[in-house]
Symmetry: C2
Subunit: 360 residues, 2 copies
DNA sequence: CGGCTCGGCCAAATCGTTTCGACCACATCT
DNA sequence: AGATGTGGTCGAAACGATTTGGCCGAGCCG
C-alpha cells in the first residue's frame, strides 16, 4: 500500500504488469468498450497487487474536461449561511440530486460586503462545472461577473433573472400578501412588519421610514415588502440586521413594549422569516402577552420549530427542499445541454396556533 | 467571450498570439521565474484580447498533483449534519482556515448505515488532497478504509485515534464528569441522563438498561456515559435517537412525567448535548415544572440558544469553532509534511440559569 | 473457398498546464 | 581578451488518464 500520494501506481504500471496496453487497462476500469472478462480480471488482479485503486480523478478530469464539482456560493459568510435553517434545507435537497448524478458540492464563501477582497479566490479559480448562487444574486454581483468571465455556467435562486440562466424561485410577493391577507381576514388592521435587511450590509436595525424602504436593494426583501403593501399598509416596519431569532425578539420587544399604549399596540405581526417570527413569539411571551389572543404572529418559510413548543407558527410554507432539488435538476440540465428555464415553486399559508381573530 | 467551456482559449493560444513560447506565457501568469515586465504585459494583453481568464485549473492540478480541495465527510446524511448546530460551528472554523490557504471544502455525505450502498462515490473517487472526518470515525469505518486505500491523508475529530493520523478532540469524559459533579455539589442525588445514540443506527429510543449501555459503540457517547459514572450512577438513562430538541423534549416528558411520584422524580438532568438539554427545559416548562427550582438541567456543547430565552442553559462549553480551526491547521500541516499530532482542546462548565441547589 | 463483419486489443494523439534543462546574449570580473 | 556569471526565453518532457482509428484473427454467409 502506497504511503504517500507521490508513489501511487499509475494505470500504465498496472497495464505493464498485466501484460496489456494502457488503453486496454483503461477499458477494464471504465467498462466502456469491448473487453474479455478474462483480460479484465487480469488487469484487476494486477491492480490489486500494485495497490492501484481506480484511476486518478485528476487525469480523468483533464481529459474529459469535467471535474464533477458544483460550486455552491453562499451569499454571506458561512457562519451565517449555515446558521440559517433555510439555506440548510435547500442545500440538503441540492446535495441529494447532485449526489445521484455523482456530482460533488464545493462550498464557496460568498462575497463579504464589508471585506476589502471583493472575490473569493475559489470563485476566481477553483475547478467546477457549474456554480449555484444559493442565496440569489445582486444585479451587479461580482461573483456572477467573475463566473461569467470564466465561462462557468450558473444557476440562480431568487428574484433576479438573467437571460440564459436557469432560475429557481418562489413568488415571494404573493406569499407575503397571502400571509397579510390572512391577518386582515381575521379582522386585524394594526399590523406590524418585521423585515429582512434592506441592503446587503445588514448594518442597520430598527424602525425604518418609507424613504428607506423605497431604497431597499435586496430582491427578496423588496418582494415581501411589496406583498405586504398589496394588502394593507403596516403600522410600523422594523428592519432586522439578519434572520435570527434574537433579532426578531428584539424587534417585537420594541414593537409590543409596554410604553406602547394597548389601544395603539399592533394586534398582529408579519415577520418575513420564521426565525424572526419565532423571536417575536418569544418576546410576546416575555412581555406577558398571550399568543395569539393578544397578538397574532405570522412567519414565512414553513420551518419546523420544535423549540417553539407548544406553539406552532402560522407561516407561509415554501418548499425549501424542493427548491434545492429543482436547483440540482437545473444543474444537471445545464450539463446535459438543455435549455435553461425559470421554475417557480408554489407557496402555501399553513395555519398554526399563533394567529386568531382580532379582539372586538 | 467564450460561450461554452469547450471553446475556451488555452495558454498555447495566448502564447502564440503574444509571440512567445508557452512556457513564457505560463511564467507571465504564475509569476514564478524571471520575466521582463514588457513580455508579461504583451502576454496579458493577448490574454484579454482572446478572453483568456487565467490558466485552466484542471491542467494545473494534473501537473501539480494537487487539487486544492479538502473533502469533509459528514458523519450522517447532510440533512441531519446541517441541522446540528455543533457541526455547523466546526465547519465554520474549518472553512476559515482552509480559505486562508486557498483550499476549498468539498461536502461529502457520510455513510448512511441503513443504506445498502456502503460508500459514497465521492469518497471512493473524488479528487481531494485531504479528507476530514468531521463527526469522528468508527473503529471499522468504511470511509476511513476507502480513503486509506486511495492514499488520501485524513484528519479525524473525536475519540478515535490512529497512528499517523492527526486528531482534534476534547476530553468528553472529563467534561461530562464536570457537569455531573456540578450537580452533585449542588446537592443533587437523583440525576437522570439523556444520552446520544449508543450505536450509529440511531433506531432505538427510550429508557435503556445497563446491558445495552455496556454495548455502546459510538465513541463520543461512550466517553460521556463514562464521565457521568465517574461521579455518580444515574437514576435513569434515556437514549435519544438523534441530537435534536424534540428528542430531548420527548425524553424529559417521559422522565419527569406526572406519573412519576414527586418524591422519586429526578431533581436534575444531564443531557449529552445542548439540543437535548434545551428540549428537556421545554418539556419541563410544559409540565409546569420550574427550571431550575424543580429540576436542574445541564447540557453539553455551549451553544448560543436565544430561543430558550429567558433561560440560559448551564452547559459544558467546548470550543467548537476552535475545533474547526484546529482541524484546518491539521490539514495544512499534513499538506506541509509536518508530523501529525493529537490536539486536545479544553472544555469549561459555564453556569446559566438552569441549575440550582437541590431542595431540602 | 473467398470476402465481409465484428469482437478484442493496441498505438498514438490529446487534454492544458508546469517545470527542468538548455541556450543565448549581454554584462562583469580577472 | 577570455572566463564566468546571469537574466530572459524557449523546447520538451512530464502529469495520468481517455478515445479514436487501425490492425488482426475468427466466425459467418454466399
Amino acid at each position: 500500500m502506497p504511503r504517500s500520494a507521490s508513489d501511487r501506481p499509475t494505470l500504465a504500471l498496472v497495464a505493464q504488469r498485466a501484460g496489456v496496453s494502457v488503453s486496454t487497462a483503461s477499458l477494464a476500469f471504465s467498462g466502456a468498450g469491448p473487453i474479455t472478462s478474462e483480460t479484465r480480471d487480469r488487469v484487476l488482479a494486477a491492480a490489486t497487487e500494485l495497490g492501484y485503486h481506480g484511476p486518478n480523478p485528476l487525469g480523468r478530469q483533464l481529459r474529459s474536461g469535467r471535474c464533477g464539482i458544483v460550486g455552491v456560493v453562499l451569499g454571506d459568510n458561512p457562519g451565517r449561511a449555515f446558521r440559517d435553517p433555510v439555506s440548510i434545507r435547500v442545500l440538503d435537497g441540492l446535495m441529494e440530486v447532485l449526489g445521484e448524478h455523482r456530482l460533488g458540492v464545493l462550498l464557496i464563501p460568498g462575497n463579504q460586503p464589508q471585506s476589502i477582497a471583493p472575490l473569493d479566490p475559489l470563485v476566481a479559480s477553483a475547478a467546477m462545472d457549474v456554480a449555484v448562487l444559493i442565496w440569489g444574486a445582486l444585479p451587479d454581483d461580482p461573483n456572477l461577473a467573475a463566473l461569467g468571465r470564466r465561462g462557468v455556467p450558473v444557476v440562480l435562486c431568487g428574484e433576479q433573472t438573467l437571460p440564459g440562466v436557469p432560475v429557481v424561485r418562489i413568488d415571494d410577493r404573493a406569499g407575503a400578501a397571502e400571509a397579510v391577507r390572512h391577518l386582515t381576514e381575521l379582522g386585524h388592521t394594526r399590523i406590524a412588519e418585521i423585515t429582512l435587511p434592506l441592503d446587503v450590509w445588514g448594518a442597520h436595525s430598527g424602525v425604518v421610514t418609507a424613504a428607506r424602504i423605497a431604497e431597499a436593494t435586496v430582491m427578496v426583501t423588496v418582494a415581501r415588502l411589496a406583498g405586504f403593501r398589496d394588502v394593507i399598509e403596516p403600522v410600523i416596519t422594523w428592519e432586522a440586521s439578519a434572520s435570527f431569532v434574537e433579532h426578531g425578539r428584539e424587534a417585537a420587544l420594541s414593537i409590543l413594549g409596554e410604553w406602547v399604549p394597548a389601544s395603539q399596540r399592533p394586534t398582529a405581526i408579519f415577520a418575513q422569516t420564521d426565525q424572526l417570527a419565532a423571536g417575536a413569539v418569544i418576546a410576546a411571551r416575555e412581555l406577558g402577552l398571550r399568543v395569539p389572543e393578544d397578538v397574532s404572529i405570522v412567519g414565512f418559510d414553513g420551518l419546523d420549530l420544535p423549540w417553539l413548543s407548544p406553539d406552532v407558527l402560522t407561516s407561509v410554507h415554501q418548499p425549501l427542499r424542493a427548491k434545492g432539488v429543482a436547483m440540482g435538476q437545473a444543474v444537471v440540465g445545464l450539463l446535459a445541454g438543455e435549455e435553461p428555464q425559470v421554475v417557480t415553486l408554489p407557496t402555501q399559508l399553513i395555519e398554526g396556533t399563533t394567529t386568531t381573530k382580532a379582539e372586538g
